[in-house]
């Protein structure tokens, strides 16, 4: 088809639609309209034929009506004055004898989304609520929510809400569910639809008659209901038992969540439920739909965290197959790593070892990390497998194995000997920064057990000029100095050369400073060096797996069947915070997380700041001027009270950030230039009690995470938390504007 500019097309179609011959021929008329719709769906601007389309809506042909309505809903916001002309026809159709036409007209009218339409739709909606056809009632009930949205946030129409509450008793199941959905939207500001005892019991009785979507949503609404007695609670659970076996995974998950929440005081019931849904969950994990598999696997991981043995006998279900997409393989590997026990460890490790040589480097590396995770409990077997992998001399494998070793000797010092024997020769197969750092660290800390350690480090020093990663140079400095302490004779010369290079030739300031620091430290005497550099070489207490009893089911029950298990709790918190800061007005999903968002509003004034104590008991003083020296002194005298990372896209624009911080009374003490790597900023703020908040922002490289460290002059957790949430909101907002 030759490409036509939208203007030509509009002109041509306009001509066709106006042509009385076309209008007389029902088929040709409809074809012309279909062409308009087709162009519209391809993104061409068809608003030019609005007039003609309005005329076309006066027809008995129901398909033509549908098409014209579809068109009008799309372009009404652009042509509000013309759309008003169409309302007449729509109103007439709302009292058509055919219920389908009535429903269709009402639905279209509610979806016009243009200002001023409310007054026209109110009456048809009210009539629709009492229509004898359930099809129309369904549309009218949802229409109430649309009308409320058009009004903006204005006050809730009490009579309408009452009418909707009474329609919860409607005999049509979809009308009932639509009432809940509609009320939920209308009453959002007041916390949504209220589920009291009569409503809850009514809904429970209607459950079997609902379709799967209705069931899943009603189960979700029932979460708000708290049974009065234990007896009532168990009655409800009995009623809902069969939904745990529904053919729809969505219903099964919603039912499971309701069970977990209702039975929060009965751990044995919770365990029982999780046993019951094991089957459906496993079935979803091998479903034809990869997306369902993925979501189900995320939930399996969630359950495993509290009940590690739960899926152990089904471990083979989580073996990856060649043709699965990447994201499923990665989830499966994680699951395998979590469900391992004495009986299946041999088979699981054998399986994972197979993945380590997969063509996809990412997948292979994930498998190696997983073996590293299992190694915390089954050290010997895993170290042996990892050592064998080194023999393959593949770059992407070696680097990950060495990183795993580094973490492992820190957590499980008993494997140090084996690791040290495996290391020689690795250096030939490592090219990336992470791997090199890990290897150098190992050589530095455990060098006395590795015969050729000084010579490997010497090679690194030889090539230091061509080394591209500053982090590797830093690591090299520390490692060589450490090794010098245990094997001085072999290292002295190399160390001298490295220090000379760092002080005289190095361009990176951080590396140069580190070099100078070590040089001066050496001048202070060898004992001083030992005191500072010889920290503990391991910390086995970190390696003990967290006690599952500390992660009871109740700690995640409320997150079950949401997006949290998909992302993991920590990442989710940062995502939802970022999203939250951007969203204002009626779309606020969770008002609680916005308690401190007040001062961000640009027309900020002092009164605004005064309001803060209500929300977080924190009031930052506007003009706290701290000198840089004073800041530095206080900074070094305090411990980090809070540290976290937040998502950050793109480069930092210091001016914008500084201004935004100023608005919430956080002063900027110092900041790197835009585009500097790493980028740093120091901030200070003081509250009305005189407590100081000092903050460091650190962005290692672009498109990574911003690390936030906060120090506080008086340890008070509530104010610290409020301060952090203020800071997060600013960072979230700025970070998103940038992206």
């Amino acid at each position: 088809m030759p490409y036509l500019g939208s203007e030509d097309v509009v002109k041509e179609l306009k001509k066709a639609l106006c042509n009385p011959h076309v209008q007389a021929d029902r088929l040709r008329y409809r074809n012309a309209i279909q062409r308009v719709i087709r162009h519209m769906t391809q993104g061409l601007d068809m608003s030019g034929v609005f007039m003609e389309m309005v005329k076309a809506s006066a027809t008995v042909d129901i398909v033509q009506k549908k098409l014209v309505y579809l068109y009008m809903c799309t372009y009404a916001p652009l042509k509000p004055d013309l759309a008003l002309l169409a309302i007449n026809t729509l109103c007439k159709d709302c009292s058509d004898p055919n219920p389908m036409v009535r429903g269709l007209a009402l639905r279209s009218m509610c979806s016009l989304r243009m200002p001023g339409v409310q007054e026209y739709i109110q009456q048809p909606i009210l009539n629709g609520l009492r229509d004898k056809a359930s099809y129309v009632r369904r549309v009218a009930v949802l229409g109430c929510a649309k009308m409320h949205n058009l009004h903006g946030d204005s006050e809730v129409d009490g009579a309408l809400v009452n009418e909707l509450y009474s329609l919860l008793r409607d005999q049509d199941p979809i009308v009932v569910v639509n009432c809940l959905r509609s009320l939920e939207e209308i009453l959002k500001q007041e916390g949504g639809v209220v589920i009291n005892k009569p409503i809850a019991h009514h809904l429970l009785n209607r459950m079997p008659k609902l379709d799967q979507w209705g069931q899943a949503e009603v189960l979700n609404f029932l979460l708000r209901y708290e049974p009065r007695s234990e007896e009532e609670l168990f009655d409800i659970l009995n009623l809902l038992d069969s939904f745990l076996k529904s053919s729809s995974p969505g219903v099964v998950m919603a039912a499971t969540k309701l069970f977990l929440i209702l039975a929060k005081k009965f751990p044995h019931v919770q365990t029982d439920v999780l046993v019951q849904v094991k089957g459906p969950l496993l079935a979803a994990c091998s479903s034809e739909s990869r997306e369902l598999c993925f979501a189900a696997l995320c939930h399996v991981r969630q359950i495993l965290r509290s009940l590690p043995g739960h899926f152990s006998s089904h471990y083979k279900k989580f073996f990856c197959s060649y043709s699965e997409p990447h994201y499923i393989k990665l989830q499966k590997v994680e699951v395998l790593c979590e469900l391992v026990n004495d009986e299946n460890v041999q088979q699981v490790l054998e399986e994972l070892r197979g993945y380590c040589t997969d063509v996809s480097a990412d997948f292979a590396q994930a498998a190696i990390f997983a073996i590293g995770g299992i190694a915390r409990t089954y050290t010997d077997q895993c170290v042996q497998i990892l050592t064998e992998l080194l023999g393959l001399r593949q770059e992407h494998i070696t680097t990950v194995v060495v990183q795993t070793f580094r973490d492992l000797v820190w957590l499980c010092p008993q494997c140090t000997e084996a690791v040290c024997q495996a290391l020689p020769g690795c250096e030939e197969n490592i090219q990336d920064s992470e791997g090199k750092q890990a290897l150098i660290w190992l050589l530095g800390v455990h060098g006395e057990r590795i015969p050729n350690a000084p010579y490997v480090l010497e090679d690194f020093v030889e090539n230091v000029k061509s080394e591209t990663f500053p982090a590797v140079k830093m690591e090299l400095l520390t490692a060589l100095l450490r090794l010098f302490l245990s094997r001085p004779a072999e290292c002295q010369d190399t160390l001298g050369r490295l220090l000379h290079y760092c002080v005289e030739e190095e361009k990176d300031m951080a590396v140069r400073d580190r070099g100078l620091f070590y040089y001066r430290l050496l001048l202070a005497g060898i004992d001083e060096v030992k005191r500072i550099l010889c920290s503990p070489k391991s910390d086995p207490s970190l390696g003990l797996l967290e006690d599952p009893a500390e992660r009871p089911v109740n700690s995640w029950a409320s997150d079950f069947n949401t997006l949290v298990p998909v992302y993991g709790k920590a990442r989710w918190a940062s995502i939802s915070k970022c999203q939250g800061a951007e969203r204002r007005g009626p779309e606020l999903p969770n008002t609680a997380s916005f308690a401190t968002a007040g001062p961000l509003i640009p027309d900020e004034n002092k009164e605004r700041a005064q309001e803060l104590p209500d929300s977080g008991a924190l009031m930052l003083v506007p003009n706290c001027q701290l000198t840089a020296e004073c800041f530095e002194k206080t900074w070094f005298s305090l411990k980090v009270a809070h540290q976290q990372v937040c998502r950050w896209r793109g480069a930092v624009h210091p001016d914008t950030l500084q201004m935004a911080l100023q608005v919430v009374n956080i002063q900027t003490i110092a900041m790197s230039r835009a585009g500097a790597h790493p980028w740093k900023a120091y901030l200070s703020a003081q509250d009305d009690t005189g407590c100081l908040f000092l903050t460091e922002l650190l962005l290692e490289s672009e498109n990574a995470e911003m690390q936030i460290s906060v120090k506080q002059s008086e340890p008070r957790t509530e104010t610290l938390n409020s301060f952090i949430s203020v800071l997060e909101t600013v960072m979230g907002t700025i970070g998103d504007i940038k992206s």
Binding site: L27, R38, V63, R138, Q171, K245, S247, A254, L563, E582
Partner: protein
């Protein structure tokens, strides 16, 4: 709940969009494209992506992405399931869920989406109710329509919408009353190189096609109901009755639907109907290798195994293959390195085999990986788990229906040989 839907093809064109609330700009899909670029292979795009204002939950079906835009926290499985339902409906209406089919029927697609969701909430999704609202296109109907100018929209409201049983319309009438059941079992298995089973499981479904007048009340019983491990049911089944008597008792929907799905996972119960002997060897310092594969029947209960296809993902260094099959035909795609052998059926007298030479890139080292095989097959008139329907009784109506049960077993994810071994 679901704010907007975008349909995107493999080359990244948004070819259809539909908004149920306010209009969300197409630029939201940039986050999706970013993820797609990162994923390298289209298959690997993660199903849930977060953007500063929205979440994108997507499914990948028949080379198309269905990307839904979500603004509030939602249960992910719910949305994924719904998107699949949308794709199923397209498949059902147009015979295939492809870009071409959707573009050809764009008007019906919009009508369907309009009925399936209102204000972002799922409404009518049952195929037999939808089909009364919007008649599917058929060649005959489009000819008739073009002559008479009539439409493919039902003029009357579906009566099912008013019946007390939401899944069945009232006043159904047939001249031939029939009830058919298909017992379909798929074997998912992983078998290692020595031929022993690493993992095996049967995923079964019973699909029904019920054309019965009035309000029939059916009960279906099995010879060996204890066989079924995890069963999930169509909402029409009375769960309590199954729990107490192991009988499926229900008032069926009209037309086609899935009655139950089940799993049989106890390993000793899962028979493996075929065996494959395969051998691939490369000589050191030579650009040649030998390839040899033979298939034979194992525990096939005396039935013929047919429709066999073998797919092998060869190592990257393989340039070409020169093979001779004793039956069927083979293709080797030198780009994706996938060998496909269409075998047909096994005759026990002469076992099918495929032998020949493998050409490697010259100078490339001997490949490390050992390719794994996927195999497809079909066995008619056999449910490999041994499940048998005992009888079907009908209450509530007087006529005598015609009843039938068909069994078929297929390979599901059936894989031989493992990663790297």
């Amino acid at each position: 709940m679901i704010h907007s839907l975008f349909l995107i093809n493999c080359s990244g064109d948004i070819f259809l969009e539909k908004h149920w609330k306010s209009v969300v700009s197409q630029s939201v899909c940039d986050y999706f494209f970013e993820a797609q670029e990162k994923a390298a292979d289209v298959e690997n795009v993660p199903p849930v992506i977060s953007t500063p204002h929205h979440y994108l939950i997507s499914i990948y079906r028949d080379k198309l992405f269905f990307v839904s835009v979500i603004q509030t926290e939602v249960p992910p499985l719910f949305v994924i399931e719904f998107l699949h339902r949308v794709a199923d409906t397209f498949q059902d209406y147009f015979g295939e869920c492809s870009e071409a089919a959707i573009k050809d029927n764009v008007v019906i697609v919009y009508e369907l989406l309009e009925e399936m969701l209102d204000n972002g909430f799922p409404l009518a999704t049952e195929s037999n109710i939808l089909k009364e609202l919007i008649k599917p296109p058929t060649i005959l109907r489009s000819v008739v329509n073009s002559i008479t100018g009539s439409s493919n929209v039902g003029d009357t409201l579906p009566t099912g919408q008013l019946s007390n049983i939401p899944w069945r319309r009232a006043g159904v009438k047939y001249t031939n009353n029939e009830a058919y059941f298909d017992v379909v079992e798929e074997i998912d298995a992983i078998i290692d190189k020595s031929g022993s089973t690493v993992f095996a499981e049967i995923q079964g479904v019973i699909d029904a096609c019920i054309k019965l007048s009035g309000m029939p009340d059916l009960s279906l019983s099995f010879m060996n109901p204890r066989l079924l491990d995890d069963v999930s049911f169509h909402p029409c089944i009375r769960f309590k009755r199954w729990e107490s008597e192991r009988v499926l008792s229900f008032i069926p929907p009209d037309g086609n639907f899935r009655l139950i799905s089940y799993r049989v996972s106890s390993q000793n119960l899962v028979a493996i109907p075929v065996y494959v002997k395969h051998c691939i060897s490369f000589k050191e310092n030579s650009s040649c290798g030998r390839f040899d594969i033979t298939i034979g029947p194992k525990q096939n209960m005396g039935k013929t195994i047919e429709g066999i296809t073998v797919t092998v993902h060869m190592p990257k260094v393989v340039l070409n293959m020169n093979l001779t099959p004793t039956q069927g035909s083979y293709t080797f795609d030198p780009v994706t390195k996938v060998l496909t052998w269409d075998v047909g059926k096994i005759t026990p007298q002469k076992l099918p085999s495929l032998k020949g030479l493998v050409n490697l890139q010259s100078g490339a080292p001997k490949p490390e990986e050992n390719p794994s095989l996927n195999i497809q097959f079909k066995i008619q008139q056999l449910a490999i788990s041994g499940l048998k329907v005992n009888r079907l009784d009908m209450y509530g109506e007087k006529y005598k229906p015609f009843k039938g049960v068909k069994y078929v077993t297929k390979a599901g994810k059936f894989q031989l040989g493992r990663f790297g071994r």
